[in-house]
Point group: C2
Chain length 720, copies 2
């Protein structure tokens, strides 16, 4: 097994497994009736009619599952990428889920900040040890075809999980050395990193500098007299801030710093920097390290700060695959600056897969709970219906099930293109890179914002109980929303997409041939802009084309007008940027609709399964056309009466998909332990699970809390 | 001072003060340079050019403040409700902020669940004691005009603050006794509750029952032989679930239960129930109590569960102001069922005030930080601009400043109407109640969702740092989003508004005269539907009228069509409910636009101040018309070319308001301690404050964490 291949495989296991950490075993049903000995619960439920009530919940799900109109397993394997991938995923899940070391003694929310970190570190270390020692796992991993499977199976979730302090070691430290180090440097560092002998992270963003890489302030100045780089943080804003694992865990980091040699700055470059003593783990002189404090989520991944005071490292610690600094200080520039694009495409597509998996979890929870929860009256005097019967509830949930597939097919397509062109990129053919880069930026932004908004919609659709930690929806949200900001803040991403759109639009006007994803911007004879005569899928996709072309044309004209009236291009760009960002959003939505449709058409599934997928695809199209109706009406792509027709069709689609809702989320095949939700578990025994979780609160271990004696009693007795 | 008046005044203090709890003292600038003795920071910043950098941040805000085009103080007093109100608010803030007992030793996020609760209980108890003992506060409160001031000053924030376990005692327990108890019952309970001798809460929602009151399962069955009610929880889903303070703090509760007497159920009624022994605080036999476990936010307000096993209470514990049960079990029904509406209106308007105050905080933080943060290049080669220079950033923030005023004026108007009609309601004139009830439902839904989305937009507009707890944006969000669900879930609220709209629409068609807020639904001659010839404020408001009339008309026709084709009304209603909810949203938006405009026109301010308010109002109108453009285009209220004009105007408005942005949020006059944000503090010294906050993390008190020795070292040394 090659170094690189083995590394990918190890990554695969790591990422799959991170997903399982932090998940705690939900109390099995059988154990519910024991363990009622805590004083608060001694007389609890003694005469409650609970059996019949539980049965109702479970019967509700059973009835839902019996209505299924399609083959669930076909969808599971479609999303996994094949029958064998599904089997392997389940096997690996089984290996790790059966290991009691990965269980938590208590919910992390009950612990202090320090104890939460320690508990997460415990599991992270066990995972590495387990892999190093366990041949079964190594063998399982050997059957995988590496990075492709990894993408579809968990890298993304790993990137954003609530807090593995070793995650960045695998996600960023080792890949940076592999991608940017020379063969010698890989040999020097990879073995040690692999075994866990050294733990690294990746330190790029600074207190005052995020998305704009060129603004970094940390300097690495070459001193030829000692053949060393001197790392320094000249201002408080130059402090490295945010890297996971940096605060207390890592003893090494790949640090991005402005490279100075012979008095000239050559921009940001990556350096391997030792941060802590390998024997004592104490931070080295000249290195200031710490944790940045609590966050909305991801509180155990040890995000840290770092500053240098004239800290010296050997010249050979500059990662020199692309650029080099020779002993005498000569700077050798890279053959091609654009190769780094490839890594960014990779990471951004990974985020799409990640966010859609988070959305899968959330919508699984919301859908199952909506089939169990009963509320109000649809018809006076009749029993309370499942809330999934309400059209407003269907409207919250079903488009999100469709979104899962939309992101899946679009990301899959970009991923496929990436693989197809990787070869030609390395051969120096960079023609396809800008388009690929644009699609990955746009899809990262679309998927992260759709997923974060979708998760929140799911949480709110569960009413008050969605606010409970035991639903797991709060954590899924706090994790997913972070993806809006990291690896390229979404507004910045949209404006990059817009830049490509405007450039393509102008090139088309000059007679250039455009790449596939923007070829619709090529001017066409007016007749093709005629109104649709029907509302078929093809017609709706065409309507999208007309709408987005019109949008791009309008903003391009406005931009040009401002430039013509004497505005500097950059200021004109800024003055149009709200509209530019909207163009980008509609463009990527259009791309996703097209890929969704062609993905369903090409899927190797039975006609029944294609039927439900096609209904979802149609819902996705109709939902987003109604949501952006102004663009369609203003461009003449659709008429007001088309819109009324589509609104009526939306109602029909919701009703048609409702019977398959539970089966659709079942087909996502998410293990109860990975779902980790009292509201979403497979058996539907929601209320007993909520009660069981609540009973575990440390505050419930005593009837009268200690704080009563200290604070409440003196107050209550003061007036007596 | 009357009992009722004194009660209101006490509430005022309580709610103002809750807002100040949980806020910790931000490290004063002067102390930043001391206290660098922790090992990790010994050599920190020794040679950083930090002074100039700090000055830049502070100079940035200074320059912003110098550009102010209006009179800030006028806006402060406008929002407070008058000069004297501003003075009193500041005085009370001062009294409480100068009390060191309200400071926290550490961020709550660092503590365990139990310790967080204890810390919050400590401050809550101190607050009551302070009021009971401090004449100055009692006197300050004596100058207030009670409930009106309370509404504009903090009740809402109190309702949603991250966790005061005594909040429900004041917000719900005492008001329930005042509103639903007889004079004798008030006499029996209010004195004891007031002094803190007993602590109560309000227990309504159950594990399986939220918004739908009639679905409650807890029973209170009258036993005439002992003149007692027997409270019982017949199923697991009947467990009371969520009430704040119920888990460990309260020893009494007002419990809503289905009243049975003489074998008949009379629906849910309120009962005063003792839960814990007054001497030992132990839960009583037949009462099971506990805490429900961790949540997305509000983790210290002790949300609890409660179930009864045939628990007996005296007959006289039924709150009997409206309904009564006589000794022999005779049920006496209330004179009028609708009186309870008044309380609901009150609470929902309170939520509007509350949510707009949360949004004020968030947008203050985001605006100030956007004037300090510098990033990227607008024009290549030039220094990094303040991010507030980017149009996309202005587009995130400025409409939210406008939203604060929009909610303020609309809520103020409903509040005024409520006060105007309260008298006539008590005289038995209930004509105005349905309209008032509808407006309060709709405005609660609009303001809570606008505020929650707005807070999240603010958080995301601060990039990664908005994700840090020290920005305070995470907590503001987790608190604000809860308002979407409690006191009437928003989707349910929208459908109530829709019901009133459809009813009014039908009445108008039958020639009935409609109430003011829906009078636009009265059929008009076709000519008034003609297209606007200009885009004045009045014309835009009129366009709103046309758009919403058209929407209501369309859905009413669809509803009627489905009924005509044989569908039961309730099913037809459900099948149209997505569109019905949208009608309601646009109707309430229209109402808010109208009130915003007339509020600005009537405000007693200088012309310069009215100028900036008018620009904000215009931005609000234009922003929401563009956001709902489909409704305007389809109804013919506006043309595609109008829309293009409005989009250009939007860009102009953003540019025009940008120079006043910082001064506008300054005029909200939020004390740094109440803001509690490293990113939003008055002096703009953002980065040093972030660093100081981070240094306080318990993990930073040791260079090498204990968990290293336990977990990491064995792993790192295993391969050696």
């Amino acid at each position: 097994m090659s170094h690189s291949k083995a590394f990918q495989l190890k990554l695969y296991v790591f990422f799959n497994v991170i997903e399982l950490l932090n998940t705690r075993e939900l109390q099995p049903l059988a154990r519910l009736h024991e363990n009622q000995s805590t004083h608060t619960c001694t007389h609890l439920h003694t005469d409650m009619a609970k059996t019949s009530e539980n049965h109702q919940c479970m019967d509700d799900l059973k009835a839902e599952r019996e209505r299924c109109s399609f083959n669930k397993h076909e969808i599971t394997t479609l999303l996994d990428g094949g029958e064998d991938k599904t089997k392997q995923r389940r096997k690996i899940e089984k290996v790790f889920l059966s290991d009691p070391e990965f269980l938590d003694a208590t919910r992390p929310e009950y612990l202090s900040h320090e104890d939460r970190y320690a508990n997460e570190l415990r599991k992270a270390c066990h995972m590495i040890r387990k892999f190093n020692e366990d041949e079964e796992i190594q063998q399982l991993v050997g059957q995988m075809d590496g990075i492709r499977t990894l993408m579809g199976s968990g890298l993304g979730v790993a990137l954003t999980k609530d807090g593995n302090p070793l995650a960045l070691h695998f996600i960023m430290f080792m890949p940076s050395i592999m991608g940017q180090g020379t063969v010698e440097q890989q040999g020097e560092w990879m073995g040690r990193a692999w075994s866990g002998e050294i733990i690294g992270t990746y330190a790029q963003t600074e207190l005052g500098h995020g998305t704009f890489l060129r603004g970094l302030e940390t300097t690495a100045t070459y001193d030829p007299s000692t053949e060393e780089f001197v790392l320094h943080s000249p201002t408080i804003t130059s402090t490295k801030w945010w890297p996971g694992g940096l605060g207390k865990t890592a003893n090494y980091a790949v640090v991005m710093a402005q490279l100075y040699t012979r008095g000239r700055c050559h921009g940001p470059h990556p350096f391997i920097v030792q941060l802590r003593d390998e024997e004592t783990h104490q931070s080295l002189p000249g290195v200031t390290l710490g944790e940045i404090g609590p966050r909305l989520g991801m509180n155990t991944n040890d995000n840290g700060f770092l500053c240098f005071s004239h800290h010296r490292i050997p010249r050979t610690h500059l990662l020199m695959k692309h650029s080099q600094v020779l002993q005498d200080g000569t700077y050798v520039r890279p053959a091609n600056d654009k190769l780094a694009y490839g890594t960014m495409v990779f990471v951004r597509v990974a985020i799409c897969f990640d966010t859609y998996r988070q959305l899968q979890r959330a919508v699984t929870i919301a859908t199952r709970y909506s089939a169990i929860r009963r509320q109000s009256e649809l018809v006076p005097g009749q029993p309370e219906p499942q809330i999934l019967e309400y059209q407003t509830q269907q409207y919250k949930i079903l488009p999100l099930i469709a979104t899962v597939f939309g992101i899946h097919f679009a990301a899959q397509s970009v991923w496929q293109t990436y693989n197809d062109v990787t070869g030609s990129i390395h051969d120096g053919n960079l023609d396809l890179l800008p388009e690929l880069h644009t699609l990955s930026c746009g899809l990262k932004a679309l998927s992260s914002s759709d997923a974060a908004n979708g998760v929140e919609t799911c949480r709110l659709s569960c009413g008050g109980h969605g606010y409970l930690a035991s639903s797991n929806l709060p954590r899924i949200y706090t994790t997913t929303t972070a993806a809006i900001t990291y690896e390229g803040e979404n507004t910045v991403m949209w404006l990059q997409v817009a830049r490509y759109l405007i450039k393509s639009f102008r090139e088309a006007r000059q007679g250039h041939r455009l790449h596939h994803s923007v070829s619709y911007l090529t001017p066409r004879p007016a007749s093709t802009h005629a109104l649709q005569t029907n509302l078929s899928n093809a017609a709706l996709v065409e309507a999208f084309r007309v709408a987005v072309s019109h949008l791009v044309g309008e903003v391009a004209a406005r931009l040009q007008g401002q430039c013509d009236s004497g505005m500097v291009f950059e200021h004109a760009w800024n003055a149009c940027s709200v509209q530019l960002a909207r163009c980008a959003q509609v463009h990527i939505r259009y791309f996703t609709c097209e890929e969704f449709l062609s993905g369903v058409e090409k899927a190797e599934v039975s006609e029944a399964t294609r039927g439900v997928l096609m209904r979802l695809c149609r819902l996705y199209l109709v939902f987003h056309i109604i949501g952006n109706q102004g663009d369609f009406l203003r461009s003449g792509a659709l008429t007001p009466s088309d819109m009324t027709t589509l609104e009526e069709e939306l109602a029909t689609l919701l009703a048609a998909l409702r019977p398959d809702a539970v089966s659709l989320v079942d087909s996502f095949d998410i293990h109860d332990r990975i779902l980790d939700s009292t509201l979403g578990c497979w058996d539907g025994n929601v209320y007993e699970r909520m009660f069981e979780e609540a009973k575990k609160s440390p505050l419930n271990q005593k009837d009268v809390p200690d704080a009563y004696y200290k604070y409440l009693r003196p107050l209550m007795k003061a007036s007596l």
